[in-house]
Structure formats: C-alpha cells, structure tokens
Amino acid sequence: MAHQSDLIAEDIAAYLKAQEEKSMLRFITCGSVDDGKSTLIGRLLWDSKLVFEDQLAALEVDSKKVGTQGDEIDYALLLDGLQAEREQGITIDVAYRFFSTDKRKFIVADTPGHEQYTRNMVTGASTAEVAIILIDARKGVLIQTRRHSFLTSLVGIRKVVLAINKMDLVDYSEDRYHAIVEGYKTFAKDLGFEEIFCIPISALKGDNIIEESERTPWYQGPTLMHHLEHVEITNNALNKPLRMRVQWVNRPNLDFRGFSGTIASGVVHPGDAGVVPSSGQVSTVARIVTMDGDLSEAVAGQSVTITLEDEIDISRGDMLCCTEQRPSYADQFEAHVVWMHEEECLPGRSYLLKAGSATAPATVTALKHKINVNTLQREPGKTLELNEVGICNISLTKPISFDPYQENRNTGNFILIDRFTNATVGAGMIDFPLRRATNIHWQSIDINKQSRAELNDQAPMVLWFTGLSGAGKSTIANLVEKKLHSLGKRTYLLDGDNVRHGLNRDLGFTDVDRVENIRRIAETAKLFVDAGMIVLTSFISPFKSERNLARELLEEGEFVEIFVNTPLEICEQRDPKGLYKKARAGELPNFTGIDSDYEPPENPEIMVEAGTKSAEEISEEIVAKIL
C-alpha cells in the first residue's frame, strides 16, 4: 500500500505529522448496472495504490474465472463482496470502500443501480457529502439518471459530480460530451444542487481519473481525483444553531451529572445559555468534559459530555439547544418517507419512530401523495410500497424536537421500525411541523373517568374479541353482555357488521381500510371506557399491530384481549353468513383466512378453545374472570 509521498521512506515522522491533518470526504457513486460504477471505484482503489499484492493475485485468478473483460483485469471484482452477488454479477446491497491520498481519506458508499433498489441508494447517500452520478456516454441521460439525481437531492446532497463514462466508446467525442452535459443541466436545474462538476472519463482505460488524459485535449478541468481531493466540504452544520441530542446521562457519582451526545450542529462554549425544548427549562453550560481535558469550545461533529450550572430535567432523547433559534417541538409533522420494506406502509398502523436518540410510537395519519422517482410526478396512493417515496403526515404519541431536514440534515431525519418484526421499514426527512400540533390542546374536564366509573360502580374496560369470521365471537360477546347486564353492569357492544353500517360505512376490506376500521373502533372504545363503561368489541381484527394500538390507547388492565381460537376448517363448515363459500368462489376478495392473513395473538388475556365447551359455559367463565 504505497502512498506516493517520498516522505514515507525518507522521514516517516514528518509524514505522520502531515497525515494527522488530513480531512475526510464521504461520497456516493450512483449509476445503473452497466454504467461502470464498480469499475470506477475499483480503478480509484487501484490507482491510489490500495490494492495489495495478494488481492491482486486473487483478482487475476477471479478475472479469468468470472470476469467480463476477457484477459484483462476486471476491476469490478475487487468490490463484489458476497458470493451470491459474484455469481449473479451484480452488487445487491450497500458496501463501503476506503481509500486515501495524502490530502484526504475517502469513504465511498457503493450502491447498486438496479431498478428496484431505491432503498439502498438512499441508505448510501444518507451519510454522503458528494454524489458522483455516472452516465454512459453512449446512452446519455436515462430514467435512472433522473432517479439518482432526485434521490441525491432528496437526501440533501448539494454537490454533484457528473461523470460521463465510457468516453472511449464514443471516440472521446467533445460534441457528445457537451450534449449530455447540457441535457443534464437543464433537467437538474430545479433539484437545488449548489455545484455540478462535469468530467469526461473512462473508468476502464483510466482517462481523467488520476491523470489528465491525452485523449480529451478539449477538456481543461481537473481530474476526478483532484476534484475529490479539493472539493470544498465546509462543515455546513457549524453555521447552524446549536443542537445536541442527549444520548446518555453520565453519572459516575453524586457530584457529577453530564449529558453525553454528539453535537449535531452549531458551536458551544462554557457560559453559553442552553434550553431543553421538552421542558422549556433554561440553564448555562458549565463544562465541556472530555478525557483529554475540558474544552473551551466544541463544534458540530464532536462527541462530548456537557455539564450545566443548574439541575434541570434532561434525559436520553432530549435536545440541548441554543436559546435564540429553537427547534420545533411537536407531535405532528409532514415528512418525505422512503419505504424500505417488502411489507407496505399502512396509514393508521403504529410504528416506532427513531429520531436521533429519541424514540416514540408513530402513525402515518395521511399519505398525501407519492412521488414517482422516475418522472418526479405526484401520484395518488393509499399505501407506500418498497422503494416508493411519499409525502406523509406523521403523528407521534409524544412530541420530539426537530428541524426541517432541508435546513438541518442532522436533526430532521428519522427511521421507522416495525413494532413486531423490529425491521427498519422506512426512512424519513421532516418537511415542517403541522400547525394542528401546536393549536389543538387537550380540553381539561372536571368530571373524569374515575368519577364516572365510581358512579357506575364498576371498573371500565374493553373486552376485545378477536378471531376468524364464524369463530363465535359475536355469539359469545352477546352472552357475556347479557350476563353483565343482569348483574347491573353498564355495557355496550360494538359489533363488526353494525359499525360498518354507520361509523365505518366508507371503508372497504383492503389492508389499509381494515387498519383504519380498527383504529376508529379502538378510539370509539376508548371514549366509552372514558365514560366508565364496559365495552365489548367483536371484530375479526386480523392484525397484531392494530390490536396492539387499541391496547396502547388504554391504561394497564383496561384492555382484555379474548382470542376465540376456532380453526379455519370449523369456521368454514359453520359459515353462518355464507361468506366462506363466496370467498372460495372468488366473489369476496381479501377475505380473512382465505386470501388475507389472520395474525393470532401471542399472549391474549383470555383464550377460548372452540369445541371444548358450550358458548354458555365459556361466557360464564369470562364473566368470572373479569369481575
């Protein structure tokens, strides 16, 4: 691994001193499958002398075995990491590569250019400061080019390199080059890039990568490497207001209470005033503590521990900010969301949202529209599928501090996590807080749930019956209500069919509508509980997420999930409404158990096994359990 510097051999101490001052640049390369992306990165590693002899030997063997360049070295093989990908000949995920020159260390996010991998590109671009957009000189600006440029802009990258590759295949034509550059600039003028640096290259032949090519005498600009070494990456975050999310409260003993975190933006000094938006409490920075001694100043990017003059209430997830330009503190906002999972995004479903160190349950309350990443046109939609980008309203169960993403890349981002599989399913960039969040407040009422419950002389609760159609939910619920009623309890039964005649008459049976159906029922049940009632609900409620949402709306002990566990075969035999027959005949699409899933509860409060006892006995037992 030979850096060019002669200092290495002559004066290693001086060399090391110089190396300590190097800066770092993270960039992403985007292009479609055949644009030569892997070849370009392989070439950068190769030409910066980062390929070792043993790797070279392996590369020569591999080039002969699976290479696509005949007897020549296939640089792309330097990069393809996982075996399966090697065999398929495409990279399928995000990989990070490293090389360095005497000026800079580089981290390259290598992401696939294949049609369906928006997810990977957004992932790779999220940490990049510069994007290299590759264009095949023979093909010009393609749909993929537009998509990559849009996503680059969406994740807030402002500096772009337009690398027009494979110039060797168009005879290094100046006209061809200019035509592509002009076409691209016209298209990209609305994308908000600060700088578009254009360069003709051949990754395969090495033209204008490290050394100026003699074959493009008409190109006067610097080489790609020179540009990457010199492109200005002023730390934009420095000029922004102070933000630091507290990651960890540092409490070694009673005399020390520090707040550890990474400064997301701005600069901080001892003596500066700071505010925590969640409580509105203000204090003064006392010390900036590090193992190497206290600092007189800390800037965006540094990981520090801050102590304050006053004992104020701060914990993980809170944000320490300057007092002048405060962030938004809200529980509702609009955001661009990129969906990252095979299972589609359902508005109404509860996800976990992680923004910095803050985590809160969140719901997409509205999908306003989607953006077609190829045409950049708005499109309507009810759900968001893998690799789709949507403009969504998001509602949290508690407020968090944030800034709009386009103003602050470090404090305006979030991920969405599925609450059951724990998969990372979405990535979001906040546009702005919703005014509703700041203008609608809870009306405080003097007569509360407890006083109503006392008057009714009962503990209000929801008995949530779930199970397949025909399982016997309504029959049992009906009997339970009768028994409760005769015992003088105040009850109300919400039945699936009845609710669909009124409150939910606008909803159908798609997954989206089912989620919304249950959300409304859960909210209605909550109001009844608040009124001091015992509510019985009888709905298939097939998804765990929504039953869980209902559970979370209520207090501990108020939600009693009753799983009427009757096997599909028995339900189908009974078929009291003739629905299974219709579904089997294809006349009822999205029927639970036939062509739509039922997710059984894992830990229901009460489990009712069908066929073992009569409905009468079962309802007796339920009443005994809950009273």
């Binding site: 691994m1 030979a2 290495i8 051999a9 290693i12 090391l16 300590e20 190097k22 800066s23 770092m24 070792f52 002899e53 043993d54 330097l78 990491g81 996982l82 075996q83 399966a84 995920d93 995000v94 990989a95 990070y96 590569r97 490293f98 360095s100 800079r104 260390k105 981290i107 290598d110 997810r119 992932t123 940490t127 002023t234 730390n235 420095l238 990651q247 960890w248 540092n250 070694p252 550890s260 990474t262 600069v267 503590v289 590090t290 193992m291 800037v299 540094q302 990981s303 976990l352 923004a355 160190s357 890349r409 470090n410 981002n413 991920i415 996590i417 724990n422 998969a423 990372t424 990535a427």
Partner: protein, 301 residues
C-alpha cells in the same frame, strides 16, 4: 466559520457515538476483547466515550488457550490501567477433548475453540449486544456489514436480510435471545488504526514490535515457538529471527513477518511500503473463496 475536523477526530467521534448508543439502548452489552491492536483502540475509545464514568459494560476475552503468552500478560496489565471488568471464557468441552490447532487442523480448531467458544460465552451471560473490532476494509464481505449487525437466536448472520442503516440512526430493537453485534470502528482502515495509536500513544502488545524470536518455517509461514506444546515436524528447525506480527491470534496459526521495525513509526513505514494485506497472516482465511463470509454466517466475528 470554517473548522474542519481531521479524519481521525471524525472517526473517533463516530465510534464514541456508536458506543454510547449501545450503552444506552441495550440492557446487557459486552465488548469482545481480543487483546490485539484493534481491541486496544476500541478500549481506548470506550474509555473516552464514558469518561469520567467507568466503562459501563464488561469486556470478554474468548481464550482458546493457544494465545501468545505475551497477550495474556498484556491483557492483565490493561485491566489495571483502564480499570474495566474482564470476563475470560474458554470452551472447556473443547479443552477436555484436547482440541488443538496441530492435530485438528485450523478450520475445525477455529470452529470449536473460537466460534463455538464465543457463542457459549455470549449465551452464558445472555448478552444482547456485543462490540466487535471488525473493520470494513479488512475483507470484501465485511464491506457490506452494518454497524449494528443483527444476529438470530443462533447467532447467525443473514447477509441477504440486513436492516438498512441510514445517517447515524441505529435500530437497536431485538427480541429476547436475539442480539446485535456492533462494530464501532467499521470505518477505520488499518492505517487509521496505526495513526491513532501513534497519535494517542495507546499501549499495544509488544509482539507487534520486532525482536529476535524463535520461529519455525511451516507452510510458507513463520510460526513462533511460544511454548513447549509446539511439536516440530521432521525437518523443521527452530531459528532465531528478527520478526514481528501484523495481526495477533493463536500462536500456531499466526504468521510472523521478518522485520526490524521496532518503533511505531517504523511499523507504519513498513506497512506503507509493503504490499500484502493484513489478513494474509491468518491461516483461517485461506481455506476457500468466501470463507470469511461462511464463517460469519455461522457466528464468527
């Protein structure tokens, strides 16, 4: 205003951020400590991340019983110096069966004493997160590894089903029994590690520095005779040579390089002027193409 953090300070801040996330999000994290130079840097970063508190999780060393003696001595010295809780775990079943790198071959030995030992150790203490010192520049399959890498109940890694990782937001959610391997120095290269050791004056095992040591040439590698368990094969002779190690593991599987580099700058100089990649010194990687990838799927780091 224009203050640019140097690359080492940026890497340092990122690693500290990752460590704090793990400490805050998991109930029972552990740091895997191999005693090598990458572990030395991780330990140093952990100290910085939580200062003035003590490191809020234990360090675990999976001892195969075949580590260099100087590594064990050094480990005990570090325990004093950095003041951390140390757990040492050995696959006792493997020891009972007499599993060793000479008669069982490197693949089987590594599987039983290292991979199996590691899994047993993680299971014993029910850790839900484990820090590892792997770097993305070490090997091709590692370039795609996440910083928070999800492992199933059986400690398996599924390269096709990794969680996307954006910005500096790490998904730390696991179900009981599942775990996360966290790699805080993912974005460091070998050169970064050495430069940081130099800059921060971090202590490292003396085996990294050249010295006259007894070695035997075997399968094209120089193996150090660290104790009398090393059995010489016919024709092999112990030679005294000036050697050092670029990577440290079990002494019978770790090749030495001939060198006179006895100071840190000399080591870095030598590394910059040679052209053989780091893992070349490890026998286990040569078995087959993609061998590291297979090992990782099975639970090796």
């Amino acid at each position: 205003m224009k203050i640019e953090m140097t690359h080492l300070r940026q890497l340092e801040a990122e690693s500290i951020h990752i460590m704090r996330e793990v400490a805050a999000e998991f109930e029972n994290p552990v740091m895997l400590y191999s005693v090598g130079k990458d572990s030395a840097v991780m330990l140093h970063l952990a100290k910085k991340a939580f200062y003035p508190s003590k490191i809020p999780f234990p360090l675990m060393h999976v001892d195969t019983t075949w580590k260099f003696r100087e590594m064990i001595e050094f480990r005990e010295k570090m325990r004093q110096e950095y003041d951390f809780e140390l757990l040492v775990y050995t696959n006792e079943e493997g020891v009972k069966q007499g599993v060793n790198p000479f008669t069982h071959g490197s693949a089987l030995y590594t599987d039983i004493m290292k991979t199996e030992g590691l899994k047993q150790g993680l299971n014993k203490y029910k850790f839900d997160a484990a820090f590892g010192g792997a770097r993305r520049d070490e090997e091709k399959s590692r370039a795609k590894e996440r910083i928070f890498s999800f492992r199933s109940e059986n400690h398996r890694w599924d390269p096709k089903n990794q969680r996307p990782e954006l910005w500096n937001l790490y998904n730390a959610r696991v179900k009981p029994g599942e775990s996360i391997r966290s790699f805080p120095i993912s974005n460091w290269t070998e050169l970064d590690i050495w430069q940081y050791i130099y800059l921060e004056e971090i202590p490292i095992v003396p085996l990294y520095y050249s010295k006259i040591r007894p070695v035997v040439e075997r399968d094209g590698m120089l193996i150090m005779v660290d104790d009398d368990r090393m059995q010489l094969k016919a024709g092999e002779q112990i030679q005294m040579k000036s050697v050092r190690f670029r990577t440290l593991g079990c002494y019978p599987l770790t090749g030495a390089v001939e060198s006179t580099a006895a100071t840190l700058p000399e080591i870095i100089q030598e590394m910059l002027l040679t052209r053989t990649s780091e893992r070349q010194g490890r026998l286990i990687d040569h078995d087959s193409a993609g061998s590291m990838e297979k090992k990782k799927q099975e639970g090796y780091f």
